[in-house]
Amino acid sequence: MDGKVVVITSGKGGVGKTTVTASLGAALALQGKRVAVVDMDIGLRNLDVVMGLENRIIFNVVDVVQGKCKLKQALIKDRRINNLYLIPASQSDEKNVIQPENMKWLCKRLKKEFDFTLLDCPAGIEQGFKNSIEAADDAIVVCMPEISSVRDADRVIGLLYSRSIEPKLVVNRIVPKMVERGDMLSHQDVVDVLSIDLIGLVESDESVVVSTNTGLPIVMQKESKAGRAFNQIAMRMNGHPDLPVEDPMAPKSFWKKLGGRIGRKNRMQS
């Protein structure tokens, strides 16, 4: 059976699309799926750095669609995680060297090989966005609890709906302390406006910055709250859609506190 093509998009830049793509790719691969992640941000490639694979790039997605290399040659295998592959973006071209027809062709081929193809969509709603959603079966909209991010996400959701794609929502970089103080929108406010299915809530986590710089996937760091959230999102995508979404605002239960005391912090991971 053919796999799924999932586009990860947000409208606004800097909300964590690339981190979400890299993390979900790693998490799905760790759960035993065959995963390809494609960097669609032609001209401003990042995904390779976040995944720690930049020094192994020979061919990129533009070379593939222009027929300069075979698909297999452009797929960079992650050495730490089995079944995880990256197709990097080109750093020297412009977005319009790829057309929507090219993406249809590419995704059709990737679907045959991989269970999940994750497309890291560039910011904006221009050519790069249009290319990315052309062949997508599903979409994940990443949104920060911030008014400008919500508005851009809303626009993108409208555009996705007009192409009959029903997106799922990830609220990224929640700072529970700020929400408690009333200085940040709560995820309920975000869901209220966007009114699409929530697939995950990710707390703001310093270890994400560390992981981005070192290229070590956040989902492999057992201590990280964000890593755990990404693992759970991957599970929801991967046949467990009803797994409850953990609310970072919920008061910690007695048992979790106790578990923390006696050193069983990561029971959820095992």
Partner: protein, 232 residues
Amino acid sequence: MPENGRLPVRLKGVGDSLWVTIDPAVSAEELKTALKNPFEKLKKLAVNARVVIDPQNGGGRESEPLIEELGSYLKETFDVGEVRAATEKADPPEASAPQEIPADPLSDLRGDARIIAGRVRSGQKIHAENHLVILGDVNPGAEVIAGGDIIILGGLRGTAVAGQPDNEEAVIIALDFRPTQIQIGGLAAASDPNDAGRGKFPEFAKIDGTRIVILDYTKDNPFRRLAPPEKR
């Protein structure tokens, strides 16, 4: 039995009844079989329906027993309501006069509104020549524009522009009134960013003198005192 290429039974809906044209030359048994198929297709529609049987010969006496027999057959098998013969000179179904609608004293009070269902998202713009009704929310960044009133059965958080270009009587009503900006006629009003506690109850905006005011719809319903009903 097709005779001259015509079916022995033809069915038509006329007014509030079913008009069945039969061929009197065909035997009653054959007519029954021919009736069975179309009536079965009607299923529940046939229950309690009024049926007029037209034997096509001017309603002569000789076809009465046939009609009676078919009538009782239809009543038993398909539960139809009333069966009668076509009277007079078999006025053809095509010529049947359109039913007269009883005069409604308010029927000329008809307004004109565009009704949209669903959420209006950021970047989307909805125009209406006259009134606009939105069955859903208007998100921040969305715009709804109307020549007359804007009625939102949901939350208003985007921009609403009513009474374009110069209708100062227009109102904007929303069940959860938290707009970014509103305009009525030539006036505009922006939301107060410090006034975050509003909303969650129905409010409306209208022009009062030279400014836009926002009032609680349940307390100051502007239409409550209109009697008799007026056209909007």
